[in-house]
């Protein structure tokens, strides 16, 4: 009896083993590829961030956490954090709000909406680098169309606006060359370029809102559009909003093209637009300081990872009903 039992047990164990081996065999190619092209580079970057390696050098020294220490003690990197977080904190909420507003408006006008949709989406489709060059022309302090337009207001009643009055007497801002304006111009372009994308995401989210819910809200006594929005639209857009915030944050952290186009040397006036992605590029590629470049990369990854985990947590806890 026990013989038989142990036999069947062994047989089933063998079968299980065989199944497990087959399963591993089948997943191996994907697993190996994933490790090789996704995880290994991160691990290598993590390792390099603890060295003073430069490309072409025969060897390197382990420097421990010196690179990270530098990130948190030098004023250049303080400026990097300020520029990056200013950009994220300004661009994400505004491009989200504009995206949602545009989506609601486009959604409410029917066929004409397609035209608006295309127009708002144009900047998303355009190459940011090319657009940046156009912006650079427009923002030129003397021959740019923006300052020339502002100059028209000089001598008119519009001069009661302090900004214009100041500009007329002392000259209009240098925009890209002005450390007080550069980061805001960068933010403006970021919003201009990005909100169409959020609009498309919100439009997709809006299609999932059931029309009868608005009728139910009306029957329940929600009289105006704002109440119906608060009661029906906004909760229904919860999952979309979490996704939009995450994707906008990641995109905002990754801002690079405009900075590289406007200020190829050094990240703007007084390093006021020295964003992380540009810092990685400057340290790691231009100056061949792989160690510090990797350290910034690791920090960047941690931020993005944190955002992604936040999204997962929010999606699972709060917004899926």
């Amino acid at each position: 009896m026990s013989m038989v039992e142990s036999d069947t047990l062994q047989w089933s164990l063998r079968k299980e083993n065989k199944q497990a081996r087959t399963a591993w065999g089948l997943t191996a190619p994907a697993l190996i590829l994933m490790i090789l092209i996704l995880l290994l580079p991160v691990a290598v970057a993590g390792m390099l961030s603890l060295t003073n390696y430069s490309l072409g050098n025969a060897g390197f020294d382990w420097v421990g956490f010196k690179n990270y220490d530098r990130l948190f003690s030098r004023s250049t990197y303080e400026k990097m954090f300020i520029a990056t977080f200013t950009y994220v904190v300004v661009v994400v909420p505004i491009s989200m709000g504009l995206g949602l507003g545009a989506a609601l408006l486009v959604n409410s006008i029917g066929r004409l909406g397609d035209i608006y949709k295309t127009i708002y989406f144009l900047p998303v489709m355009a190459t940011l680098l090319a657009m940046a060059i156009v912006w650079e022309f427009m923002l030129h302090p003397t021959i740019g169309v923006i300052n020339q337009t502002l100059e028209v207001s000089c001598g008119t009643f519009l001069e009661f606006i302090p900004f214009l009055a100041y500009g007329c007497s002392d000259g209009f801002p240098l925009w890209l060359g002005d450390r007080d304006y550069a980061i805001w111009v960068l933010c403006f372009i970021g919003i201009w370029q990005g909100f169409g994308f959020n609009m498309v995401l919100y439009l997709a989210g809006l299609t999932a809102v059931h029309r009868e819910l608005y009728h139910a809200a009306e029957m329940d006594g929600a009289k105006n559009a704002w109440e119906r929005f608060r009661l029906v639209t906004w909760p229904a857009l919860g999952p979309t909003t979490v996704f939009v915030v995450t994707i906008s944050c990641i995109r905002a952290f990754q801002v690079f093209d405009t900075v590289e186009a406007f200020w190829p040397q050094g990240g703007g006036p007084n390093k006021s637009t020295y964003v992380m992605m540009f810092a990685i590029y400057e340290k790691g590629v231009q100056q061949n300081l792989i160690g510090i470049g990797s350290a910034i990369t690791m920090l960047f990854l941690i931020f993005v990872m944190f955002l992604t985990l936040m999204q997962r947590w929010l999606v699972e806890r709060r917004v899926h009903y």
Partner: protein, 371 residues
Amino acid sequence: MSAVVFSGVTKSFGSTLVIPNLDLTVESGSFTVLVGPSGCGKSTVLRMIAGLEDVSSGRISIDGEDVTDLEPSSRGIAMVFQSYALYPHMTVAENIGFGLKLGKLPKTEIEQRVLEAATTLQLENLLERRPRELSGGQRQRVAIGRAIVRQPKVFLFDEPLSNLDAKLRVQTRAEIAQLHRRIKATFIYVTHDQVEAMTMSDRIAVMMDGEILQCDAPSVIYEDPDDIRVAEFIGSPKINILPIEHNEGILSLFGRSFGRVSSVIKKDFFQMGLRPEALCLSKSDGMLSGSIVHVENLGAEVYAQVDLTDQDVRVTFRASPAERHLLSLGALVSLRFNPTDAMIFDAQGERQRSLEFSEAKPLKIAYDVYG
């Protein structure tokens, strides 16, 4: 007392006129079903009562008060939607009580009324759940609870059973009818399902192309329709329509006379409606003969379709299970009917009762009809 009155209501969407001219009175405490094929405007009528749709002209009054220009929430009505339309981010209790909350009722009263409604619908144990955690039937009951809690004069139902599976639909049908008997409010119910209309209501309004063809008790609608479209829409399987000829009092079907009525109309063509149960197998030569092309056995009864010999007409008749052995495919059968069961309509589909046989006029029944 009439609960809802439509007087001269029209409705158009842009240039499309969907409700040409509607006059309808719904009695207080009745269970009225608006039934019709999709696109006939029945949902539009319901939504106009609710105030979700404005009328183009005419007036609507509820319980004697003109509500044409009132907000939906101040009309004293509640509505149950086809998709239930529960707020996904609220619990069952919040969903049920939300209308009261917007109506600024004290919290304790809201809680009490929500609990009361929940008890009526056996939802007490589900009050803290979210809609996604409920089954279709439970969601349906929450939607009804949300209506009950407002204590409305009129309940509106917009195809509330169409998202339920067949078994649950039968059960919920009975529950809604019971609910109506218990709370004695006016129910107006829209459906395209004639079974729902026949089983639940005490009045049926049959709608087609934006007008109400007939509004009567279910038995009248079925047995004594005014219009051929009503006769065709209500009843499953569909009523058989046969062309007949009338010539100075003699009625004939496919060239064979089957009766005489007192009428002086010269020669004219009419349509005769015969319910499947009005036709039965005949051992000798009946009025109709043909071959069986399809048999549907429902257990308690059998429906068979017959292609009439030499005619491009197919009729359906009901047979008892005992006759099932006679109903093999391709078999030639003879069918008879009692002329008093025949309903006669003119070419426009209007009922011509003067041309029909009735029990009161037995002499006019043709002798050769019975096989």
